[in-house]
Subunit: 132 residues, 3 copies
Amino acid sequence: MKTFNVITLQHTQFVNIDSEVQAIVAQSGVQHGVCHVFVPHTTAGITINENADPDVVRDITQTLERLVPWEGGYAHLEGNAAAHLKAGLLGFTQTVLIENGALALGTWQSLFFCEFDGPRQRKVWAQIVPAA
Amino acid sequence: MKTFNVITLQHTQFVNIDSEVQAIVAQSGVQHGVCHVFVPHTTAGITINENADPDVVRDITQTLERLVPWEGGYAHLEGNAAAHLKAGLLGFTQTVLIENGALALGTWQSLFFCEFDGPRQRKVWAQIVPAA
Amino acid sequence: MKTFNVITLQHTQFVNIDSEVQAIVAQSGVQHGVCHVFVPHTTAGITINENADPDVVRDITQTLERLVPWEGGYAHLEGNAAAHLKAGLLGFTQTVLIENGALALGTWQSLFFCEFDGPRQRKVWAQIVPAA
């Protein structure tokens, strides 16, 4: 299992982690397989979406805030229930394919670490599995 | 493929399945890899979130009910369209990592089977895959 | 890595891809393992849900449109921000199990390619991984 850190600077922030994951894939030497990328937190998640226009990430974070507002009369006394919910909706794991020794993403896709209760120092875990 | 049962007692209920999944991981003898946990239903899903404070699960189920109310003028005549939707939003599979022969979850993370149309007897399937 | 095309004919359309994925599983010869199905786009996703009653898919697409309306005052100037959001909520990858050489889905489950900005010609990627 490989790990790397993500340091977030804002309360809500999507951090492109393509290069960190690509480095793990390259170091593994695996030519064909998958890379499982896992976020071991409960108030941060991981997603895939468009990186070319940063407005896409802005629309995602603003829409999530409209659907799951920070102040929402939640029971969880720590005050960050909305972060638990947003992370759970996007999920804590992404599985990406490895082809010819490289991370295979679509033309417009990037992997984003999704901070919903920052700023914090976070971890990402990855596991490489060879294909049949 | 390994399977185990989950018996739900309420209409909407999150059931912690960490110990069942950990037992499957331990029995496999795999030291480094991943465990794919799959829910073969369409009105129950699976998620990861905080287990320490049960209010987090309460906030998740109540927020899902606000976003996708049980009575919502749906077309599906069986009456449980909201359960299909909630399960689909959280998803039917989780991939968790195996490190040193044990399930690797974050400090605050647990795996939850998510019943949205109970009470019922349900199944969970798991498949273990070794890492590179 | 195996790929196949999905041609969508409507703006929002769920396409059952069970038979395409089953064919890839059968050709692989893998008896026990998993199949990772990946959508390399940012305005189309992939989900699992009930196929028997097409009203379930209709309820899903209509509820997503209620939660994330096409016209929503988004920043993304291309005009399809809602498609990025809907795809991200359902996700871009599904992991399904392989048992006895066949795709293992629950009785009522099907795999759906989820078009949110069609009609378009799309790609699906799949990678087969053997179990321990």
